[in-house]
């Protein structure tokens, strides 16, 4: 009798548990299709004539475009900066997040943030958003340090900040934490772990900006990096919970760090750097709103297996910021495509130090660094030696290594602001974040130039 009651109780438990689970699963549906980025406002913020300047063209073949292209360094608080991410605030300002590390490297790294005000044409002071201690307390678990940040605007209007966390000190960005802010990044919720993999809960690295599906859920391109490597898209609901994941490139191991360019309600292009001898960016397309992605194909963008940033403009052109395969990370270009990514041409060379550093003695190398610092930020243009010293002292050990000059421009991020301005930021010589702002006029003229 007791045995029978036990059996009936277990049967009831099984039926109720699976009925509940099936009820939950039946409401677990999401659609395919993309939400297009906000349309570009044609009335851009007026640019005072005095602030406009011309930038030289390649070999003088084309007339110099008018419009604005200007650069700044992000605020530095004595720590090396890397892995920048940009997001536009509701009032038109731009907030940047980056990983700042001190002498202890990954263990004392923090996620820092600052705001760029287009009207004042300058950056605010840097503030610490999160670090190892705060993340460890929030996640209630051991972490080795914090990794790369990625910021995004959620469909509900909140600002979300994803960042990598390390389970082990030696592994970078092996899991993802998520914080949200309802006041444009002034205050943040406690971090929350996104569980993305079944084995020991690590091996997912984040790098690229998310995109939004038509139903308001968010797609987050990530890289699986444990035992094998392949690109994936995580799908998050409007509360930030993972509701699906999709493997890209049929699990192809050469495709790394995917970025997704939304080109229409059903069309998108995923681009990724390639870990193979091809030295070309790989592309994967979808024509059915992300339900299926085609296998990876070689794109027209050449790249030395380094991080890149891409952007789809409202009226069709694509932009990419990336290193050049022949020049490695000593060179960084802004490239544009007006034929959907079939061909790309250089719009401007953002940095070019290829071959210039090798063979330079220390004094000449320092001179070059000082010149680069002055030309990178108007605030440093007329700075005296004492004012330049902190920046020079920070960048010197990063550039001057093993008796030679090693320049590096890497990890670009790019967004388009509501007024049409393009903001680009990247890691400058493994030390600072450099910010570049170009206006629509400059870009339009460059894109319309004959090949």
């Amino acid at each position: 009798m007791q045995e029978k009651s036990r059996r009936l109780a277990l049967l009831a438990l099984v039926l109720v548990a699976f009925a509940l689970a099936l009820f939950k699963a039946s409401s677990w549906h999401f659609g395919y299709g993309f939400r297009l980025p906000e349309s570009v406002q044609q009335a851009a913020v007026p640019v005072p004539e005095s602030k406009k300047f011309r930038r030289g063209t390649r070999g003088g073949a084309n007339p110099a475009p008018t419009g604005r292209l200007e650069t700044h360094f992000l605020p530095d608080n004595g720590r090396t900066a890397a892995a920048v991410s940009l997001v536009e605030l509701k009032d038109g300002r731009v907030r940047a997040f980056w990983r700042a590390a001190g002498r202890a490297g990954a263990a004392d790294a923090t996620i820092n943030s600052a705001v760029f005000d287009p009207a004042a044409n300058g950056w605010s002071e840097a503030q610490e958003v999160s670090g190892r201690a705060a993340t460890l307390r929030g996640l209630h678990r051991q972490i080795g340090g914090v990794g790369d940040p990625v910021a995004a605007r959620a469909a509900n209007g909140a600002l979300w900040l994803f960042y990598g966390t390390d389970g082990f000190a030696a592994r970078r960005s092996s899991a993802i934490a998520l914080m949200s802010s309802q006041d444009e990044g002034i205050h943040w919720s406690a971090p929350r772990r996104l569980v993305t993999t079944p084995f020991l809960d690590f091996g997912t690295r984040i790098k690229a900006a998310p995109f939004v599906y038509a139903d308001g859920t968010m797609g987050l391109p990530v890289q699986h990096r444990f035992i094998t490597r392949f690109p994936e898209i995580l799908r998050l609901d409007q509360t930030g919970k993972v509701i699906d994941k999709q493997r890209l490139a049929a699990g192809g191991r050469a495709a790394l760090q995917p970025l997704v360019l939304v080109r229409g309600e059903k069309k998108a292009l995923a681009l990724s750097r390639a870990d193979n001898a091809e030295r070309h960016v790989l592309s994967m397309a979808t024509d059915d709103g992300g339900r299926h992605w085609q296998p990876a194909q070689k794109s027209g963008l050449r790249n030395p297996d380094a991080a890149l940033a891409v952007l789809a403009l409202q009226d069709g052109p694509l932009l990419a910021v990336l290193n050049d395969p022949e020049r490695g990370r000593e060179s960084l270009s802004l490239r544009g495509s007006v034929d959907g990514g079939a061909s790309w041409r250089e719009l401007t060379r953002l940095e070019e130090m290829n071959g210039l550093g090798a063979g330079l003695a220390e004094p000449q190398c320092l001179e070059v660094i000082v010149h680069l610092l002055r030309s990178s930020d108007p605030a440093l243009r007329d700075a005296n030696a004492a004012q330049l010293f902190p920046r020079l002292a920070a960048v010197r050990p990063q550039v001057l290594r093993q008796g030679a000059c090693h320049f590096e421009f890497s990890d670009p991020a790019m967004i388009r602001a509501g007024n049409g301005d393009i903001h680009i930021a990247y890691t400058w010589n493994r030390t600072f974040i450099k910010h570049l702002r170009i206006d629509q006029q400059w870009l339009t003229q460059r894109l319309q130039e004959p090949q």
Binding site: R6, R7, L10, L11, L13, V14, V16, A17, F18, L20, A21, L22, F23, K24, A25, S26, W28, A133, L136, R137, L139, H140, R141, Q142, I143, G167, F168, R192, R193, V195, T197, P198, F199, L200, D201, F202, G203, H224, F226, I227, T228, R229, F230, K241, V242, I243, D244, K245, Q246, R247, A250, G251, R253
Partner: protein, 204 residues
């Protein structure tokens, strides 16, 4: 601390307590003292010292344990505390661990990149996976197995109520340490069985 953190940390507190309860000194204590010791041990493992608890340290290394692990550890700790035998015999345990070993072989190699298909994806609200588990649970009950249906029901109910940090059903059912244990036990049991059969056979 929310319920997912509490449950996640408690799994590691149980995992830490279980071997300690096997120490000869603890085994000789009477039941009230063992209970007191276990309660003190639980608090010690759960309370953060210098910003992090021992359970939190283990959680950072391994990730959350599944509800299956939490159930098995809870029963093992209970049996050790009250000196009672486990409610499930060797046949029940072998069936569960054998099934978990099969699930581990179906899940982990493919989820970690072997081939283009990802079975872990089916844990995000797949009706097919739920129906398969439900039918398997009912079939096992007909065959007089109770532990495995209980484990499946617990995983399904836990997933329905978001008891763990993960939103994936697989994480409620199985975890890496449990998978390794299940594979080890299953291989060992089958190997011993094969050896015994070989010895029992008369020489040709």
């Amino acid at each position: 601390m929310n319920h997912t953190d509490w449950l996640g940390l408690s799994g590691f507190a149980l995992a830490s307590l279980w071997p300690v309860l096997h120490l000869p000194y603890i085994r000789r204590l009477d039941t009230p003292r063992r209970l007191l010791f276990a309660a003190a041990g639980y608090v010690l493992v759960m309370v953060p010292l210098f910003g992090l608890s021992l359970a939190g340290w283990l959680r950072g290394m391994v990730g959350d344990l599944s509800l299956t692990s939490v159930l098995l550890l809870s029963v093992a700790v209970y049996a050790r505390l009250f000196k009672v035998t486990s409610p499930w015999d060797a046949r029940e345990r072998s069936a569960l661990l054998g099934l978990l070993a099969v699930l581990a072989l179906l899940l982990y190699p493919f989820a970690l990149g072997l081939g283009p298909l990802d079975p872990y994806r089916s844990g995000y609200g797949s009706v097919g996976l739920l129906l398969m588990l439900a039918l398997l649970a009912l079939w096992l009950m007909r065959r007089n197995f109770y532990l495995t249906p209980l484990v499946f029901a617990l995983a399904a109910a836990g997933w329905s109520f978001n008891l763990l940090e993960s939103t994936n059903l697989w994480d409620y059912l199985i975890d890496a340490p449990l998978a390794i244990y299940a594979l080890w036990v299953t291989i060992k049991v089958n190997l011993l069985y094969a050896l015994r059969r070989k010895r029992a056979q008369p020489d040709a």
